[in-house]
Amino acid sequence: MTDVVFRLLRTPQGAMGLVILVLIAAICAIGPDIAPVDPEKIDFLGRFRVPGAAHPFGADQLGRDVLSRLLAGARTTVPMAVAATLLGTLSGAVIGTVSAYLGGRWDEAIMRTIDAVMAIPGLLMALLVVNTLGKGSLNATLAIAVAFAPGMARVTRSVSLAARRQDYVSAAIARGEGGAWIVFREMLPNVVAPVVIETTIRVAFAVALFATLSFLGLGAQPPASDWGLMVAEARPFLHQAPWMLVAPGAAIALTAIGFNLLGDGLRDALNPRDER
């Protein structure tokens, strides 16, 4: 584990991504505590206040401090995106691995069905799911997980199949190893790396997808300070108070870039044979 981090730090993208994400993680951890004011405190006279000493990032249409909302919102935005991705990844990975393990007609049937589900665009799927379950962060999380699962199932299956075809798996079968050992000890450690990389990059998509759901009024609900919701709420006031959009927009972009960089870095660092 430590050597992975070490190797990660040696790739320029990985180091940069890690720095960004550590910063964001720190904000998630202590953000609400270091927020200068109550993020939900409304202030009639302070509406649309320009960034300045009182409000470093300005104030919004209800006079709430954008910086405080940004800091408080990190705790919902980032973990939610991560949770949605993990949930989607996990369920996708289970389906993909099972499919690869079963093989034959079962594999064919599962994958064809997955292909069919993938024909429904992710955002449409999320829209349908949220409308069915009701709006809110939790359901948006579920919706994104559902939208991600088929794609992850595909990825996992293809790496599982690749791992299954490796000679070390053949060697284990020839040795008479049990199914559990083969799946968990021989295949999984080799499947994890590509899946982790894919997951990391998808977190970036999840952040954007959350924001889009919020834009369509289906994600986090006011008065939450979720970044995507902040952007969505700021959009109508773009001409009047652009800072309302700039701050959370930049935060989303930074997070997404951080995860993208980390993913690219991990791609290099997690290759065990690449020892230079």
Partner: protein, 518 residues
Amino acid sequence: MIHLHPTRRGVLAAGAAATMLPWAARAQTAAPKRGGTLRISVDQAVGVLNPLLTRVNPEYLVAELLYSGLTRLAPDMSAEPDLAQSWAGNAELTEWIFKLRPGVTFHDGSACTAKDVVASFTAILDPKTASPGRNNVGPVAQVTAVDDTTVRFTLKAAFADLPVTLAYTNAKIVPAALVASGLERLSRSAVGTGPFKLVSYEPDRQVVVARNDAFYDPARPYVDRVEVVVYPDATAEASALISGDTDLMSAAAASEFARLSSSDGVTALRVPSGQFLNINMGCDKKPFSDVRLRQALALTVDREAMVGFVAQGYGTPGNDTPINPAYRFYEALPLRPAQIAQAKTLLAQAGFPDGIDLTLVASDTPATRTQLGIAVREMAKPAGFRIDVQTMPHATYLDQVWKKGSFYVGFYNMQATADAIFSLLYTSDAAWNETRWNFPEFDRLVDEARVTTDEAKRRTLYGQAQTLMHDQVPSVIPVFFDLLAAQRSYVQGYKLHPRGAVFRLDWVWLGTGAPKRS
């Protein structure tokens, strides 16, 4: 039998001839120019074409272009002649006679007679049609044709406002033959007597209408063609007007209003209206059955600030009654100030010395419902209210919360009369009895005013009703919205109507500087 023309001045007279309408005469400084294409943007799809079933402003707008009613609503909320040239009620106000304009024809060339009026109202009143007009045209029991140009309305109870309520958005006249065949055709095509004929209809993009040369007023409409375009995004819609892509926008978002006002060639339009947001409380159940709790909540709200938070300053403070200066019978009560200490006391007296936990439901359309919820949540916090704001899709809200819930945000257009808004929302027999307030004294006042023709007496009765509501607070009404819109400066004759659902585009003409649109 007395003749009634209920204008603000209370003039008793037969309906004036259309060409002599006071407002029309006032609005015209130069002679209207004929011709040209007017492009007006709306923010929602025109999903329903059948005028008896329209529900939202863009649909009302299109219905108004294609159809006529018996009366139409002037900007001062009085009734003015449309298909009916004149009208009169009997002394008890239980029976009304409407004289129709002779020689009017539908777009398909057939004559429009009393038979069609009877058929139209029969359809509107039929529950199977499910027309929103059923609850809003007044206590009509029966409609009969006296002769080809005379229609008699028999009422269930005395009602002074009938000519105004008959101007309701859904009370449009359609051919009797179509009513007989089931009205299906009206969802795809239009056969009306309105100033324009339907050219093309695409619900989510654009509706095009062209001048009806057989319109009963040979002078109107002034423009040859109207294109109603659907631009769902407020920012983009405003940009389209600023860039000259459209001539008129039917409604502007508050967030775009400043930008529109400062743009060259654009005239921003603003009119105070009775459109309001409220917080409904279920008065039939605990905890809101306790008037002290309701009063406590009302006392937490800073109404002047709320105009800023919710209406971006484009509005007027509300005083917990649905009547504001835009209505005729407004009673100027002193504005309730925010008094947290007193609210705390009342809350304790109501049995919540440690505060109270509540969930306030807000539908997502329009977004201001949620804004109100959040602002109230913060304002009420110091008094001990711990309010959780829950937003839900409009469909779910209508299905599960509306009229059933005990704490939710409502949103209403201005109605034509005080009676309309009271009996729509607050009387015990209200069509949408949201608060289940059911206060007999209030019912009595409204009923009495309904059958009273004396202006001063009515004013007293409605004043008492408003005072009663202000004290009892069945719902907190903290803010009224001004209606906002914008037009290119060359557009002439358009006046923003406070009702919100009335547009009167047949009066609009294009002055110099208007672009040629083909």
